[in-house]
Every structure is written in structure tokens, then in C-alpha cells.
């Protein structure tokens, strides 16, 4: 068998569409699940024990069941109770829901890595709790939280392929549709893999930038 990538000159529009859907899905999930993850992390350290145990239970459920099941739930079960959504929004909601709890774990250990003296110093200056969180504490979680955050973000990117099961025309399903008509699975799957690799590298680049940012700004004394 000889590989002949000239087929790509014909099928590229379909792969491009799939790529755009994959990017849109990934970015939407990250944009929603990241702030939710921060809220989950804060809630898990809250004073109210009801909130803490409620979130711990939800985290256990959402991280314990297969992601595909959650996607099915949003797409097939919610309409039964009157919440009917098109495939893409439904997949965004489902994936954001479970990713919020994965990110919750990431930010929780990130927040714990920031010494209590940082909160005290900010409070002593009269800074508000919200200002302290956004400007003082969260940026300092970066060294601890960035590597696991990026590896979860990579999981989000790869996980978008699951959305094919609820009729989202993302990259993997686009590739499949193209090769079943062209009978060129090798070339097309390799092309799709290459696109995923490029998107992955963008996330790794983000991690590299973040690590460079944190290098001079390292904590002075861990306490």
C-alpha cells in the first residue's frame, strides 16, 4: 500500500470544519469549566460543612462515571424533562459539568500551595477578599496548578471526540465520514492525528509560557 496524501486536497474542507468544531468545543469547555473549577475549589474549603460535603459528593459522582454517560445524559435524558438543546451546546454543558470538578481538584491543591501569610498580608493592607483572590492568590497557584491544568486541558481536547456520540460534527467524526466515502482511512486518520498534535502543542506552548512567567516570580519561602 502506498500513502497518497493528495486526497487531502479534496477533503480538506470537511476536516477544517471538524477542526473548527473541535477548537470551539475545547475553548468553550475551558472557558466555562475553569471559573467553575475555581468556585468548586473555593467551595470545598468553605466554612459551611453542607456545601463542602455536597461538593465532595458531586465531585465523586462526576469524576467517577464515564464522561460519555454524562454526554448522553445531557443530550438524551434532559429533553425528557423539557430541556432540549442542540448537540454542540449540550456537549459543552456536559463536558463543562464534569471538567469543573477535575479543575476543582487542581485549583484546590493550587490554593493550598499559597501560604496563609499572603492572605494576611493582603488583608492587613485593607484589600478585599475578592481582590486578594484574583490579584494575589490565584496568580500564585500557577506553578502548582499549571502542569495538571494543562494535562486536563489536553484531556478536554481529546475528549471532544466523545461528542461525536451525540452528533457533534467534530474532527474525529468528520475524519470518519470522509474516509468511509473515500476509502482512504490511513491518509485521513494520519492527517487528523497531525491536527490534534498541533492543537496539543498550542496547549503545551501555553504551559511553557506560564512556567517562564512563574520562574522569576517564585515564592520566597514556603511556609
Amino acid at each position: 500500500m502506498k500513502l497518497d496524501f493528495s486526497i487531502l486536497t479534496v477533503v480538506w474542507p470537511a476536516l477544517l470544519n471538524g477542526t473548527l468544531v473541535t477548537i470551539a468545543l475545547t475553548l468553550s469547555v475551558l472557558a466555562i469549566a475553569t471559573p467553575l473549577g475555581i468556585l468548586v475549589a473555593l467551595g470545598r474549603g468553605a466554612r459551611s460543612s453542607a456545601l463542602r460535603s455536597g461538593l465532595a459528593a458531586a465531585s465523586w459522582v462526576f469524576r467517577g462515571v464515564p464522561p460519555l454517560l454524562i454526554l448522553f445524559f445531557a443530550f438524551f435524558a434532559l429533553p425528557v424533562v423539557g430541556v432540549k438543546l442542540p448537540p454542540l451546546p449540550s456537549a459543552i454543558i456536559a463536558m463543562s459539568a464534569y471538567m469543573a470538578f477535575y479543575f476543582g481538584e487542581v485549583f484546590r491543591s493550587g490554593l493550598l500551595s499559597v501560604p496563609a501569610g499572603q492572605w494576611r498580608a493582603a488583608e492587613a493592607l485593607g484589600l478585599s477578599p475578592v481582590h486578594t483572590l484574583l490579584r494575589i492568590v490565584l496568580p500564585q497557584t500557577l506553578p502548582a496548578a499549571l502542569p495538571p491544568y494543562i494535562s486536563h486541558a489536553t484531556e478536554v481536547l481529546k475528549g471532544t471526540a466523545l461528542a461525536a456520540a451525540v452528533a457533534v460534527p467534530e474532527l474525529t467524526s468528520a475524519a470518519k465520514q470522509v474516509f468511509v466515502v473515500t476509502y482512504r482511512p490511513f491518509e485521513i486518520l494520519i492527517a487528523a492525528a497531525a491536527i490534534y498534535a498541533v492543537l496539543d502543542s498550542a496547549l503545551l506552548l501555553l504551559q511553557w509560557r506560564g512556567e517562564r512567567w512563574a520562574a522569576r516570580r517564585r515564592a520566597v519561602r514556603p511556609r
Binding site: A121, A122, G126, L127, S128, H131, R135, Q140, A214, R218
Partner: protein, 263 residues
């Protein structure tokens, strides 16, 4: 801030009590500090010195008792029946008028030296960046670090970090400065540069409360020495008198222990 009428103390603490579970950290502490006065606080480990400072700026509010700074009461007027939110907001304004310097500096490591100094004045005092930067540069010159505004805390020595921390507190134009063992985390050769900055500050008339084990600093700079024991002030007066002729048995044994340690 509204300054107290002459004669009123700059800081007034009335009958402060604070417990941590079974531990009584403050057991009825009252203290008046006049404007421009420097009070050194000494006492054994666990006697409640740090607790007093964090009750004064309400980082951890006392269980009982009142604090007044510059004629303003921490938490506002109780007759006004403020909501919890309003009390929190009042406490933030109250704290903004009190500079605090910690043993471990607690600079913000992700900010440059300059940003450490301008963050709170801009966010809390509503100063413009230009105005805050100008004041910050003057303060950095005052603590001898004019050339370090672009550095990050991790790139500075302990003594330099503590001087930045002092400048950060001063950037809020506080009415009073609290120091909690500002030199005890420093290598011995870095202690003097920090004490020198504090000396200058005292000379300029800043009201200061300094928890310290530096007896020569207490003797030379403080107007008054306060000896703490088990959550109470057991002795208070001119530093020289207390250091030479301590009246209280516990003060005597504390000073002897300190001498033996060679501090």
C-alpha cells in the same frame, strides 16, 4: 484620616481578651500609645505579643474589648448597628490606616517590588498609578532600594525584602506601624539595615509598636518598653529602667534568659 485631637492617644486598646480554644492568648490587655510614640513589646514565646498586634488591626478580632486608632473605633460605632458587610468594609478602611510588617516579610512574590508598593494604594485608596508610583519611588529611596523597583522579591536578600515590606506598609500612609519581630528571620549581618530604616522612621515621628528581641534597639529607640507574660502586660515603662531594674520577677527571669542566650 481624621486625626485625634491633641492629647488623645493615637492607639487605644481597651481590655482586650482573646482565646484560642483552651488557650488564653490575651487576658485583659489595655494600652494607650501617643502619637509619635515608639513602644517596644517583649515577652516569652507564646505570651501573646503577636496576638496583640493582630487584634489591634483586627486581622483576628478580639473576643472582647475595643480598639481605637486615630480616634476611629475598629468596626465602626456599635450604636449604628451596622450589617456584617458594613462592618467588614469599615474594618478594611481601619486596617488600611495601620501598617503591618511581618516576621517573614510576606511580600507578593509574583509582583515586582514597585507593584508590591502600588497595588494596595491604587485598589484601596483609589490613587492613580502615576501618583502611587511617584510615592512608591520616594519610599524605595527612603529605605535605600531605589534601584530595585523592577526586581522580584525572590531576587532580593532577606534584609532587602523586609525593607520593601516596610515601604509597602508605608505606601498606605498609615497612622501607625506594627512590627512583629521584623528582624528575627534575618541572618545577623542583615539585621542592622532593617533596624536603621525603623530608627529613621521613629525619628520622623511615626507611631510604632514593635515586638522585638533586639534589646539595644528597644533601649535606644523605644520611648516605652512593655513586658508581656501569659497574655497580660506585667510591666511597662522607660526601657532603660525596665532593662536595668526590672520590678517584676518574671521580667527579671526573662531578661536573664535572654542575656544567657547572648541576644
Amino acid at each position: 484620616m481624621t486625626t485625634a485631637s491633641t492629647g488623645d492617644p493615637m492607639v487605644r486598646a481597651v481590655d482586650l481578651h482573646k482565646r484560642f480554644g483552651p488557650v488564653t492568648a490575651l487576658d485583659g490587655v489595655s494600652l494607650d500609645v501617643a502619637a509619635g510614640e515608639v513602644v517596644a513589646i517583649i515577652g516569652a514565646s507564646g505570651s501573646g505579643k503577636s496576638t496583640l498586634l493582630s487584634c489591634l488591626n483586627h486581622l483576628s478580632p478580639p473576643d472582647k474589648g475595643e480598639v481605637w486608632v486615630g480616634g476611629k473605633r475598629a468596626g465602626g460605632d456599635p450604636a449604628a448597628r451596622l450589617s456584617r458587610r458594613a462592618v467588614e468594609a469599615d474594618l478594611r478602611r481601619f486596617r488600611a490606616d495601620i501598617g503591618m510588617v511581618f516576621q517573614h516579610f510576606n511580600l507578593f512574590p509574583h509582583f515586582s517590588v514597585l507593584q508590591n508598593l502600588i497595588e494596595a494604594p491604587m485598589a484601596v485608596r483609589g490613587r492613580s498609578r502615576a501618583e502611587a508610583t511617584e510615592h512608591a519611588r520616594a519610599l524605595l529611596a527612603q529605605v535605600g532600594l531605589a534601584d530595585k523597583e523592577k526586581a522580584f522579591p525572590a531576587e532580593l536578600s532577606g534584609g532587602q525584602q523586609q525593607r520593601v515590606a516596610i515601604a509597602r506598609a508605608l505606601a498606605m500612609k498609615p497612622a501607625v506601624m506594627l512590627f512583629d519581630e521584623p528582624t528575627s528571620a534575618l541572618d545577623p549581618e542583615l539585621v542592622d539595615e532593617v533596624l536603621r530604616v525603623m530608627r529613621d522612621l521613629a525619628r520622623q515621628g511615626m507611631t510604632m509598636l514593635v515586638v522585638t528581641h533586639e534589646m539595644s534597639f528597644a533601649e535606644d529607640v523605644a520611648d516605652r518598653l512593655v513586658f508581656f507574660d501569659r497574655g497580660r502586660i506585667v510591666e511597662s515603662g522607660p526601657p532603660r529602667e525596665i532593662l536595668r531594674t526590672p520590678q517584676h520577677e518574671r521580667t527579671r527571669s526573662f531578661l536573664q534568659r535572654l542575656l544567657r542566650r547572648g541576644a
